[in-house]
Every structure is written in structure tokens, then in C-alpha cells.
């Protein structure tokens, strides 16, 4: 079992960052690695159990199921059903916490998954740096104070 944890501080309130990332179908609106997204079976994107079906910019298709969504805790947990990455038992959580001094929030993205032996390092870099940190960097740019 591999665990990754990436965290950052974003210069905007948890409410405004959450408004940006809450939409389970909205990855292409803020994550630079994601090209398109749809929710299967015309379900609403905030119905727990719904499945998002999206493509990365390099063409990979990924299906993920929403396992938990909390507007109270600013948190979202999901699992991968299908992906080209070669990961199993992949469950990730994206969570925001307000920082009370200053208009900013603490963002955490963590995951547990299994993979074939020898691929741990490559997948940790791809997911931790490419997906999680890449997403945070995009949010930091989007909310950067000019």
C-alpha cells in the first residue's frame, strides 16, 4: 500500500476555492492536466456514488466514483474504477481547511493505492507531483493576488 500526501496554502478563502473544486465534473475547469469530463448516466455531479468519466491531456481515459462529499468539511473522497496508470485500490481525498489568520486556506490531497512492484517511485511522482501538486499550482495561480 502506498500513501501520498501533498499539501499547500492557497491565497483565497476556503469558500471560494471550494466553489471552484467542489464540482466532481469540473476538473477541466481548473486542473491543467485534464482535457474533458462528463458524469455517467446523466447523474448530478454532487450525488455520492456518481461516476466521472474524463480524459487527461495526453489522452488517457479515467473513471472515478465519488465516495464522499462534504460541504461542511470542504472535502471530497473518490476512488478510481478504471485508468491507464496501473493502480489498484486507489482512494483519494481532497480537503480544504480555512486558515483563520488571513484570507487563505490549507489544501490537502492524499491517496492510498497499490501498484506493481518497481513502479512505486514513478507512480508517486506522477500522482504526487503531476496530479496533486500540479493541481495546487494551478489553483495558486488562479487565486494569486495581483
Amino acid at each position: 500500500m502506498i500513501r501520498l500526501y501533498v499539501s499547500s496554502v492557497i491565497d483565497a478563502s476556503a469558500d471560494s476555492v471550494w466553489a471552484r473544486i467542489r464540482d466532481f465534473n469540473g476538473l477541466p475547469n481548473w486542473h491543467p492536466a485534464i482535457a474533458d469530463s462528463r458524469i455517467e448516466n446523466q447523474e448530478p455531479a454532487d450525488r455520492v456514488g456518481c461516476v466521472r468519466h474524463f480524459h487527461t491531456r495526453d489522452g488517457g481515459m479515467i473513471r472515478e466514483r465519488l465516495l464522499a462529499l462534504s460541504d461542511y468539511d470542504y472535502a471530497c473522497t473518490y476512488e478510481i474504477l478504471e485508468s491507464p496508470m496501473g493502480v489498484e485500490n486507489y482512494v483519494a481525498t481532497l480537503k480544504l481547511t480555512p486558515v483563520t489568520d488571513g484570507d487563505r486556506c490549507f489544501a490537502e490531497w492524499s491517496v492510498e493505492f497499490d501498484c506493481a512492484e518497481g513502479r512505486e517511485r514513478e507512480l508517486s511522482d506522477l500522482i504526487g507531483q503531476g496530479v496533486f501538486q500540479g493541481g495546487f499550482d494551478a489553483l495558486k495561480r488562479a487565486f494569486a493576488r495581483r
Binding site: S7, V9, T97, V99, T100, R104
Partner: protein, 488 residues
């Protein structure tokens, strides 16, 4: 009704350092200004769950608190008040730390629930939030800045007075590249207002060549170590330095020199923190050059959409940044380079027309391209190109002499300028970053321009610190493109 107070902040220090202080249930009298005395009752260790601490506050109040949870894995501590002169009833508080992995900082969450006598809810909520939690954040920041967590309680101030062995490059007599000699040395401890950093990379600039040749002896008294910028990690800080902690990633630039070394002591005024995305070598290669491009465009050249810029050495460290940035700001840019290969590089960085001229002939092409000449010339060529530069200048143009690669400029006759109503400038980058705020502001713009794609990192040629002479040979050969760094 139960009251709830939540306060949180971000501390500019790695979680290990913050937790080292907070996990000690008996540490508050060392860092929290409201606590006068703290002791653990009985013979318990302050890390023993169930132990009770006895506080006397500065205002005379008395509080006993019991440790309910201590979790080194989750960086969490929960405690409750068992007896107090303050009417906080059923008070249970939790401190939680989390690492900010992006930047080696710490998120600190402090919350509590409690009951109060009727009518005192608001007053006590504010007291806990402001006087205990928010003040605690500030007090701990100060405690860490002083390095106090790095020593055992009650010990003498942190010893920073020891020199640290290092490798450095020394010039003992002015001359050619061979005047640069690497040797073992010592980096002196940081004095008041200074910090000492372990350098991973030192930038190589043309000014280092001038200094080595002895053109500006005041900037490099002998024996001396050249080098006006570098990047690395803070080792220790001197008295009165705020905002930097050991372990912080930083870059510096300054006219005092000394940069060609593996450990360097420098005024904190010259230092900026590095964003996580900027590598040490990139920072060492680009800080001075980026800051130079920034003041040239914004302050001295006042770049406007449509302005016509002539950039010499357009494939050099400053040249590439200027081409890309000037174009993004709407200017038109013609560059000169000495080879076809450099021309390709300059074009890739946004230079719209590149003149390949090994012998400093460019004025007629510039005038053809721009009509009556360039509004701004950024000149690193010096004497051999001075007549051509004047010829290439548009009426009311601004000739900025940044360097003198071909030799020192001859004195300029003011009456020459009259014929074109021209301006001549001879700026020095350090004057544009005289305070830490100005340096930080310019550096921030450079890192942002890199992050948003306005600037590309130019090719960086790396040499070992011991091969500084070779790096200078390469720079003077005019065969390099982009930036050079020495890696320690």
C-alpha cells in the same frame, strides 16, 4: 451552551521544528508571552499522557491543565483545564499540526470547546482566541526565529559564532581566467542582520570578469572572492534577522561579492526566499539577470506597446529574458548575436529579428527594420560598437550601457547626444534593489513570469566551483548562450 473557538495559521518552518516545541507540555513559559511560569506536577515527564502542568500567568492567573492526548504521528496534542482562576469550564483544547509539503511550512490548527458563566461567553471566546491562540502563533514565530527550539531549555544562546569550512574561489592578483584559484576556506559566522547559507549554485556574470580583470578594484579588493549572486539553503542567522530560518531555500544578489563559495555569509537585506517551483540552479542563474531585465523594462526603458528595442547579446543571459519579456509587454525587439546558433535561440525566446554580426555591424539593418532606429538600446558590447549604436539610435532614443564586453567605453561627448536629443544611461542593477522589499518585489515578478510562461528558463551551463576559471574562459569566448552557474 458550549462555546467553540478555532484559530489557525501557517508557520514558516518545517513541521519537525514546530512540533519539537509544541509536543513539550511544559514549554509555554519559554515562548508564550502570557505564561510566566510552567511546571509539571509530581515527577512526570512533560510527554507523559495524563501529566498535569501548573501555569502562572503574567496577570497573576493560575491554571492547571492535564495532557489527554499526545500523538507524534498525527502531530496532535489534546488537553483540558482541571482547575483555573479563569472561569473556563469543561475546557478541552486540541493543537494539530500538518505539513505544508509545498514549501516546507506548517499548518497549525488550534481549537477548543468550553462553557462559561452566563453573559461572559463573548468576552471569554475573544480572550481565548486573541490572547491565547493568536498571540501564541506570533510568540512561537518569534521563538523559532531566534532559533530557540534548537537548544535545550535553559541553555546558552544558540552558538552561531563558529566559522564553517567551505570551498571558495580567490583572486590574489587581477588578470585572466587563471587568476581564479579554488581553495579551502572558512565562511565566517553571521553577524547582526546577516545570514549564512549553504550554496548549491552561484551565478556567473560578466561583471565578475570585469572584477577579475581589475577594472573596478573597489568592488573586489585583493585577495577577494568574486560572485554577486547565488542560491541555496540557510544554515544559520545572526542577531536581529527575522523572516529566515535554518533550512529555508533562498537566493541572494549583492555588490559585496563573495559568491563563488560553497558557504556564504551575506546581509539578510540581499536575500529573498525561493518559491518551491524555482530550482537553486535556476535561481542562481536568473536572479540578477531577471532583476536586470525587470528594471530595464519597467523603470529605465519604460517599455510601451510598439516601442522599438535593440538588444545586444540577445542570446545571453539577460538578452534572452529581455527579448521574451519585452515582446510579452508589446514591444518590438531586434537583437544582435555572433552566431547562427545563437540567432535560433534568440528567436525561440521571442526576438522578432536577429542580426548575426560577429564584428558589431548592425546599424543599417536596425534602421531598415525600425524606420528611423531603435527607441531603446540595451548595450553590453561597449567600445567596439559605440559608433554603430549611436547610428542605430532613433531621435529621442535611450542608449543604456549595461556592459562592455569589447572594452571600456571611451568618454562620451555630451554634444554628441544633442544631435539626436538622446539619453545615455549607465545603470547598476544593485541600485534598483537597494532594499529587501524592492529586491523581493522584483524577484517575485521574475518567478511569476517563469511560472506563467512569459519567460522560459534559458540554457544553463554548469561548471564545478573548482572550475571557475574554465567558466570564465567560456563566458569570455562569446561561445556560450544563456546563463552560466558554478555548482558547489
Amino acid at each position: 451552551m458550549l462555546q467553540k473557538v478555532v484559530r489557525s495559521t501557517v508557520i514558516d518552518a518545517p513541521i519537525e521544528r514546530v512540533w519539537a516545541v509544541l509536543r513539550d507540555f511544559n514549554s509555554h513559559d519559554q515562548w508564550h508571552a502570557v505564561v510566566d511560569k510552567s511546571r509539571i506536577e509530581g515527577a512526570a515527564a512533560p510527554t507523559q499522557v495524563g501529566c498535569v502542568r501548573s501555569f502562572t500567568l503574567k496577570d497573576g492567573a493560575f491554571i492547571r491543565e492535564q495532557l489527554l492526548t499526545l500523538d507524534d504521528r498525527e502531530h496532535r496534542s489534546t488537553y483540558c483545564i482541571v482547575e483555573a482562576t479563569v472561569p473556563l469550564q469543561r475546557y478541552v483544547a486540541t493543537v494539530t499540526l500538518k505539513p505544508v509539503t509545498d514549501g516546507r511550512r506548517t499548518f497549525w490548527h488550534w481549537e477548543s470547546t468550553f462553557a462559561t458563566p452566563p453573559g461572559q461567553e463573548r468576552e471569554l471566546r475573544e480572550m481565548v482566541a486573541r490572547d491565547v491562540y493568536e498571540a501564541g502563533f506570533e510568540n512561537l514565530r518569534r521563538h523559532l526565529r531566534l532559533g530557540a527550539d534548537l537548544r535545550v531549555p535553559g541553555a546558552a544562546p544558540m552558538p552561531t559564532a563558529l566559522p564553517v569550512p567551505c570551498r571558495r574561489v580567490v583572486v590574489r592578483s587581477y588578470g585572466g581566467p587563471q587568476a581564479l584559484q579554488a581553495e579551502a576556506g572558512e565562511a565566517r559566522p553571521p553577524g547582526p542582520g546577516e545570514l549564512r547559507l549553504r550554496q548549491r549554485a552561484a551565478g556567473v556574470n560578466f561583471i565578475d570578469v570585469y572584477l577579475r580583470r581589475g577594472w573596478i578594484p573597489a568592488m573586489l579588493p585583493l585577495p577577494g572572492t568574486p560572485g554577486v549572486e547565488g542560491a541555496g539553503t540557510v544554515l544559520d542567522v545572526g542577531e536581529g534577522v527575522t523572516g529566515f530560518l535554518p533550512g529555508d531555500r533562498v537566493a541572494w544578489m549583492g555588490p559585496e561579492g563573495g559568491g563563488y563559495a560553497s558557504v556564504h555569509t551575506v546581509s539578510a537585506e540581499r536575500v529573498v526566499r525561493l518559491p518551491a517551483a524555482v530550482e537553486d540552479e535556476t535561481a542562481a542563474a536568473l536572479l540578477l539577470k531577471g532583476v536586470t531585465a525587470d528594471y530595464l523594462l519597467r523603470d529605465l526603458g519604460r517599455v510601451q506597446p510598439g516601442a522599438r528595442w535593440l538588444v545586444h547579446a540577445a542570446a545571453g543571459g539577460v538578452g534572452l529574458l529581455l527579448c521574451a519579456w519585452a515582446r510579452r509587454l508589446g514591444a518590438r525587439v531586434v537583437g544582435t548575436v555572433s552566431t547562427e546558433e545563437k540567432a535560433r535561440l534568440a528567436r525561440a525566446h521571442g526576438c522578432e529579428q536577429v542580426i548575426v554580426t560577429p564584428d558589431y555591424r548592425f546599424a543599417s539593418t536596425v534602421r531598415r527594420h525600425f524606420g528611423d532606429g531603435a527607441d531603446v538600446i540595451v548595450d553590453g558590447l561597449g567600445d567596439a560598437a559605440s559608433a554603430e549604436n549611436f547610428e542605430a539610435l532613433a531621435p529621442c532614443g535611450h542608449w543604456i550601457s549595461l556592459g562592455q564586453a569589447s572594452g571600456p567605453l571611451q568618454p562620451l561627448d555630451p554634444n554628441l547626444l544633442v544631435s539626436k536629443s538622446a539619453t545615455f544611461s549607465r545603470p547598476v542593477a544593485f541600485a534598483y534593489v537597494a532594499t529587501q522589499d524592492r529586491l523581493a518585489e522584483r524577484a517575485r515578478r521574475v518567478w511569476e513570469a517563469l511560472a506563467d510562461g512569459t519567460l522560459m528558463v534559458p540554457p544553463i551551463e554548469r561548471h564545478a566551483l573548482d572550475a571557475a576559471a574554465r567558466a570564465h574562459e567560456r563566458l569570455e569566448s562569446r561561445r556560450t548562450a544563456g546563463a552560466l552557474v558554478l555548482v558547489a
